[in-house]
Symmetry: D2
Amino acid sequence: MADASTLAAEYRDLRRDLHRHPEPAWCEFYTTNRLIEELEGRAIDDLLYGPAIHAADARRNVPDADALTEWRERAREAGASDDVLDTIGDGYTGAVAVVDRGEGPTIALRVDIDALPITEADGDDHHPAAAGFRSGNEGFMHACGHDAHATIGLGVLDSILDSDFSGTFKLVFQPAEETVSGGKPIAESGVLDDVDHFLALHIGLDHPSGEVVAGIDEFLAVRQFEATFAGDSAHAGARPEHGDNAVQAMAAAVQNLYGIPRNSAGGTRVNAGRVGGGTASNIVPEEAFIEGEVRGETTELMEYMWDHAERVLSGAATMHDCEVDVELLGDAPSAHSDAALVDVIDHVARRTAGVDTVVEHDSLGGSEDATYLMQRVQNRGGEAAYVGVGTDHPGGHHTPTFDVREGDIAVGIDLIAGVVTELAADP
Amino acid sequence: MADASTLAAEYRDLRRDLHRHPEPAWCEFYTTNRLIEELEGRAIDDLLYGPAIHAADARRNVPDADALTEWRERAREAGASDDVLDTIGDGYTGAVAVVDRGEGPTIALRVDIDALPITEADGDDHHPAAAGFRSGNEGFMHACGHDAHATIGLGVLDSILDSDFSGTFKLVFQPAEETVSGGKPIAESGVLDDVDHFLALHIGLDHPSGEVVAGIDEFLAVRQFEATFAGDSAHAGARPEHGDNAVQAMAAAVQNLYGIPRNSAGGTRVNAGRVGGGTASNIVPEEAFIEGEVRGETTELMEYMWDHAERVLSGAATMHDCEVDVELLGDAPSAHSDAALVDVIDHVARRTAGVDTVVEHDSLGGSEDATYLMQRVQNRGGEAAYVGVGTDHPGGHHTPTFDVREGDIAVGIDLIAGVVTELAADP
Amino acid sequence: MADASTLAAEYRDLRRDLHRHPEPAWCEFYTTNRLIEELEGRAIDDLLYGPAIHAADARRNVPDADALTEWRERAREAGASDDVLDTIGDGYTGAVAVVDRGEGPTIALRVDIDALPITEADGDDHHPAAAGFRSGNEGFMHACGHDAHATIGLGVLDSILDSDFSGTFKLVFQPAEETVSGGKPIAESGVLDDVDHFLALHIGLDHPSGEVVAGIDEFLAVRQFEATFAGDSAHAGARPEHGDNAVQAMAAAVQNLYGIPRNSAGGTRVNAGRVGGGTASNIVPEEAFIEGEVRGETTELMEYMWDHAERVLSGAATMHDCEVDVELLGDAPSAHSDAALVDVIDHVARRTAGVDTVVEHDSLGGSEDATYLMQRVQNRGGEAAYVGVGTDHPGGHHTPTFDVREGDIAVGIDLIAGVVTELAADP
Amino acid sequence: MADASTLAAEYRDLRRDLHRHPEPAWCEFYTTNRLIEELEGRAIDDLLYGPAIHAADARRNVPDADALTEWRERAREAGASDDVLDTIGDGYTGAVAVVDRGEGPTIALRVDIDALPITEADGDDHHPAAAGFRSGNEGFMHACGHDAHATIGLGVLDSILDSDFSGTFKLVFQPAEETVSGGKPIAESGVLDDVDHFLALHIGLDHPSGEVVAGIDEFLAVRQFEATFAGDSAHAGARPEHGDNAVQAMAAAVQNLYGIPRNSAGGTRVNAGRVGGGTASNIVPEEAFIEGEVRGETTELMEYMWDHAERVLSGAATMHDCEVDVELLGDAPSAHSDAALVDVIDHVARRTAGVDTVVEHDSLGGSEDATYLMQRVQNRGGEAAYVGVGTDHPGGHHTPTFDVREGDIAVGIDLIAGVVTELAADP
């Protein structure tokens, strides 16, 4: 493994402050405010946030007013500015910073900023706990490294500002990646429509410190949904025949969702990830729900799963004389990294300090709504790539003991800044 | 236990001949022919059979042409008359004999004649095997005593012919009881529309030799059906996604049929008694079926079950993109025995030789399409009762070792003949 | 309908205060305290509460410490005494008052005191809302009339104290009836072991004002349980094969619990009344639960259902490589009202003002853990009966618009006091 | 498309004779006898058949004695030799011919010979029907081209006999490929243990006439099974509680087999291809079965599916108090074609008349127990490849209208003979 770089104190403090304030999708109020404060202190040419960077119709999965209010007030108490909160407070989180240095290509970097509903470990062997920057929002945690991503974004911006970069650089802080909801409204807002080279990145992903993946592919297309079954309650002892049992409908749906036929064209997925229903053991359940998802190695495969899932949900409701309402939550297409851009990343990675292994390609195996942004750029003639920056993470992604080696944040900054510089120099 | 009567050789031989030739529902060709021969040798006033005694529209569950042909040819080889077979050969089995002796009430007795698809025991401890009259139609068996019923019917007829009976007596040999299909077409043919007193009977039913049940009640209403699921086949390895899996639909239906909610108004039943589907382990199944039934302690409860079953079958098909076709097979309503008629039976039973215990009422716990005939008579102002004649049966009904004590056939003849005489004497 | 009595202001105020403070099973802290206050102001001979009236081992379904603390603090804020809370505060709610007036039989009355997790209606047509005594514990409601029951209990006590009653009278305020958990520990505490005549009562049950049911029977035996399935979580996109899906196990169990075969020996019930599982749409669910129940018209039928349910839960876990832990919550046997006692009630009811119809027998159709107390008394040679006091209730039991006519509380007091007096006079 | 060769009359007649006599797995008595007759007329050095070419322990899925007898007698009536039938008649079908021409490599070609339980089309647009060689075994059909395969095998043998081939050539006529049962016992018999170059082939597979696939890969490993559930029957109306319902167990298993989690390591399959159970609508089903299979892109993935399937079958039985017996039927591992051998095939194909397109690699997408033979050879240091010979087939494989262009049989002969010659010339 390379003797990795050390992260400058400024970035370390930022990362730890973000880590201490994990916020769920669309509620990244403290985080957005903190990043805006950082950006306002820098010599950038434009700063966009709030409804300006979101196609309002494309937003999905935004929490209800109570949840938004609660997180907004938490952010306010933690010091967020009233003005910023007024602009972003209905779930218009995230920000876009623009550096415009005359002639040259337009290059964008997207980093995501939301956290997860996971309770962070607090043992001494968990570094954030031991070093005093464990989550202050109990039950939520930066368990997927988005605190590191945001920090890398700012570091890359600083490198570019310090350089003789010529062209346009757009830094996108995207909210709501974990619920695959934030990518689409930003894509459809048009803020990236002029981009020639688009980069997104992820830290970790089971790659160790010192390893870089030049181009990540095989994003699973995904669609998330909530199905709500409505029947009729009844006393389970006295009048079971008066009920229309929503839990029976839900259970039949679960059994048959997992049974959607495999597809020879490629991998598919289905999950009834959160389910519930009913009120008490002696009441025939009137309501039940499934919060689930389908995926496919291609967008078509995801659609295949979705067609079947809709039929299963509908048929299950029919069987038990219930109604079912299916609400689409987030989704994301599949996408690929462009070979030419991957070559540049590979080339730059090999000369970046702290990188001792460059893997040309790897598959994500999961989903990511950066794919909406990648597709948007690619459909307009630009190119896109998704980069992996290795780190020795003690726990797996989305687990209570996830953490990143802070030195690898510095490696990430150097790598991406190097790629942007290279692209501007030799567009 | 009473020292039961001995069965006359004539009736014993008839019973054993019928036992040797068990035939399934609507295929009782040998049986019907044999009974017609018996009747033709007696001084009766009318003899009806073939389409004359069946409302053709009401017939259900008639086997396909191949099966009819096979059983018809078997009967022909066993000596059945071509003329009779021509008349009954498309599944118009059974017969009605009429004795018209001037003034007096019209009294009917119904006995059923079909057998079951059960392979008869052949051990030495099974009397029909030991005594040489075991089933000659391998795989089929008189495992519910209908051979005894038919014999009792003929015995009662002889008693009446020998007596000074005044009135009209109708003896109905009903086919297709086991599939609850024969009662309805006979009822709707109108042959019983002038009946004042209607009797049906069953031997055994876990009542020992010497015991009579004057009035059996609590017939479960029943509806039998066959649901056929049609999907699309596909190679299960190469193209699983091209299939619409009829077996998955069927399995989902089975799971949810049994889950139809209990009803506080009374007992219900559901059974997916015979199911199947698919052709080979490597083919996604294109077709599947459920041969099943629902029941209820009242006709309304049966209908409640049926409404739910139809929804389950439809929803299960929807879930797997299949079509489902639901064909009604037999059915039967619930019914009750009239108290006044039960009193007569009770009274006569107490003086009948061989009877030492008279149980006033008992519940059937199963279904019987004699109820169609009972209802038909009752709806026209007549009265009806269903009588139980005990016998020590070694195996349970519908099992390979079922048998009846032949002496109890004689008891049954005496009992019913006594009731008919009493009704005619004191209408 | 009878011109029903008017409820004295004292009892009306008590009933409304209890109605305003509905508390769930084992958390009836305010209620118990209020009733103790009432009892302490009366000339009774003994007052028992806390662990003294509960066989600790037999308590089930007691909420966790957090819930107990929350309800205890609520009661404290509403004015409950610290001393009483110290004694009952770990879920030892309820109380027993004893009147000892020399020679004579020992007669007990049991009334229940807990409320339900139902949000009370607040329309003008809901009397408690219109008259200002709607639930102050949002989400909880006296939707089954236990506020009326407790009031009747105190009214009966007052009548006896005012009378020349000779014998012993025990008034039991039982907690946790709704979760069928409070009856067993009180029965096993032995406080009723010397009882000759035991009475329990219920208001409403679809009987109108002016009607009394002398003896309610056909209690369904019930067993409630919580099954917890534990599997392993995994990322649903990246590593679905690493998961052991607890929601699949739960759904399979639900499907097959409802499919436990009907029983010809009598009515049975099963309900998966509250279910849940999983954490997020993209995580293979690691945990799931079923809060359910089985019932039977006899204790044997309930046990039959339970045997099958245990197999279903175990097999479902096996299918998906999960563990299942099944915790018994409340249960109650079936029971019957003794004819002799029912006769006394019938006799007294016919002379009680406000009663214009007396129904000798009716079936409950549901479950009640008064049956534990009834059985305890009956097993020791005493007799027991369960009385129904009609009331015009606008909404059904366990619905947000349930209410009782307060005049019928007075009828209930007069009826039961009359029965106790009669029993003491003519033991 | 190439102007394909014409098939010599001798081979055309053989192919049509085989097509007229389709026989299922392990019952290829007529076919084997016919091929032995052909071989006996040729100058080969050794001819093996019967138990000599099968490791008896490894045989699976052999039909019962009745089925073997029926097919043996059919073959006898169609002219098969008594001597041959005596040797192969217990399901030891197939044959191995050996040509030994001194120094040189040992090269083997395997062709399969069994047919499918499919009823052949009989329209004028189905060539075998129009030309008079449609299946004479109604309900069975060469719907996968094994008649062509056998013919190619014999044609290749003739070419080699006519050539100056030096080395050893083994021609394997393998039975029971459709049930993936015949490969393993031949592999384990050791007859191929000295083979240096192993070839297997398939015609069609959606590749048109004129196209050759030099190396087919991605065989799905497969395991086929029959699970039999045994419960207890009962009268569905009278005593449903006495039954242990094997159809409920089966349905629960079907629902959950299809729900075995997808695997991120590669494609998997599961199919409950043929199921059944029960005897009549009014009997609680005592027995039920699933004839099914699991597959995986690797042998490990198939094993993963199998582990889960066993758990599902066991848990489903537990749920309904049934026993389950799981019998393994056929199986086959995954395998790959060796690059060096594929290169030779590619090279020869490009110069073979009638071939105008050579596809280097394709995936099978299904399973094939040639993989047992490939693995056996590869594990002993030999190399193996699986070749595709295109043909315009009007209907899909395993459908009633499948057929092959007979000219493509000639192409197949030339191609494989060319490869064998090339391998012998340049080992």
